[in-house]
Symmetry: C2
DNA sequence: TTTTGTGAATTGCTTCACAGCA
DNA sequence: TGCTGTGAAGCAATTCACAAAA
């Protein structure tokens, strides 16, 4: 995973930038004109100082005594995230999850357009996962040409864990530059390739941990270490 | 979001614990008996010191000169995460994403069982999203009784953004303790409620940012600040 | 007033480096 | 020798607190 941060911007700040944008878009939809760092922070469970510091990493967007102008900031943040233009995206995997992602309506207004879907299973090739669009499932052999012709830079992987690594290689070889991976496996790729990973079970595990609490055996100190080996 | 950490364990360490478990399960499936912190780290893009430090937060699991015994550590980590027992989970939202999550086969072996699915749309109530299971979509009115009867503690929300907040309240009132939220909106709930959020567009935005690079206007310093206001 | 942007202080996390065990 | 567990050091992120702008 490309955890670059070669610029001086903290990784967590970039993650939060997406959340600020989402909140700002919601405010804009409600015709809100300005918002303060305090209000933005409250909506997202952050301090006002955190919000100001984060935004200040990218420029000076605020107006003292006023706050941030919503529409102005939306434009700026989109430009920073690179979603002021539309990205063409391909999807590999036409199983349950792949088809659901393909049909998901939320990507478009965020600047992402899934323009192609691939699968290696002959039984689904040629079918139309979303009847409202004229996009058939294509065989993997057409990857290279489609990536080139449609100028695709991002790929979503919704394939089984045991295929993910090889599919990742294939899409990168075809010219894709970044990957959103839904397969429950760690991809081993060049450091320079941006990878985002979503493992559905991992998120449930984090909830489980918080509810189960830290284990009754928090941490033994060095004094007791002598008694530790059990075999 | 409950970012508690009332214990002394770093939040990032808990997140990585899930990744260690996933990797360890994969090693176990390949009949690997032991693994070193170095090998575990390499597979996940972490340093060996990071792996040892993380695991040491939870106990002393390693064997000097040998490494970690895979099966032993799998058992220990499952117990720490609370997934050594099965959690009953409910799902709200029988749209494309909700049905895909309901049909997803990966949860069970991780200790999560989706035992009920709800929707407020009368047109889908009574239908069977997964024909291989005898679980019909239920109306929201049956939430309370089902949560109680099936001893459900976790809920997955796959509803539209504008319903998510009220649905979250409903499931909490029904007795649910933690929420995995797929709606692209920040839930405002009591600090004590664990919430995990997955926003599909947010992950694509992070890739977009990494490919677009930090903006050509990185950060003006105080000297140039005088020239900054544009309106 | 209100609210930003930002150095300084603080808190948190990761890496180093090595004693000790197998 | 190989490898863990862990204090200490170093680095990164957050919070504080206040001058300056509207």
């Amino acid at each position: 995973m490309a955890t670059s941060r070669s610029n001086g911007i903290p990784v967590p700040a970039v993650r939060r930038l997406s959340l600020y944008l989402r909140q700002l878009e919601s405010l804009a939809a409600n015709s809100r004109k300005t918002v303060s760092s305090r209000q933005l922070g409250e909506a997202l469970g952050l301090t006002d100082a955190q919000v100001r510091k984060d935004l200040a990493y990218f420029g000076q967007f605020g107006h003292p005594g006023v706050g941030y102008r919503v529409n102005e900031l939306v434009t700026r943040v989109r430009s920073i995230l690179g979603t002021d233009k539309t990205w063409n995206v391909l999807l590999v995997g036409a199983g349950n999850l792949g088809r659901a992602l393909f049909c998901y309506r939320g990507f478009t207004k965020k600047g992402f357009q899934i323009v192609a879907i691939f699968d290696r299973n002959p039984a689904v090739i040629g079918t139309h996962p979303d009847p409202s669009r004229r996009i058939p499932v294509q065989p993997m052999g057409e990857l290279d040409e489609t990536v080139r012709r449609r100028n695709i830079r991002l790929a979503i992987l919704a394939v089984p864990a045991d295929h993910a690594q090889s599919v990742a290689r294939e899409v990168l070889d075809a010219g894709v530059r970044g990957i959103l991976n839904f397969a429950p496996v760690a991809l081993r790729l060049d450091e320079s390739v941006p990878v985002a990973a979503v493992d559905l079970s991992v998120h449930l595990e984090q909830l489980s941990f918080q509810l189960a609490g830290a284990p009754p055996q928090p941490k033994r100190n060095a004094v007791h270490a002598a008694a530790r080996r059990r075999r």
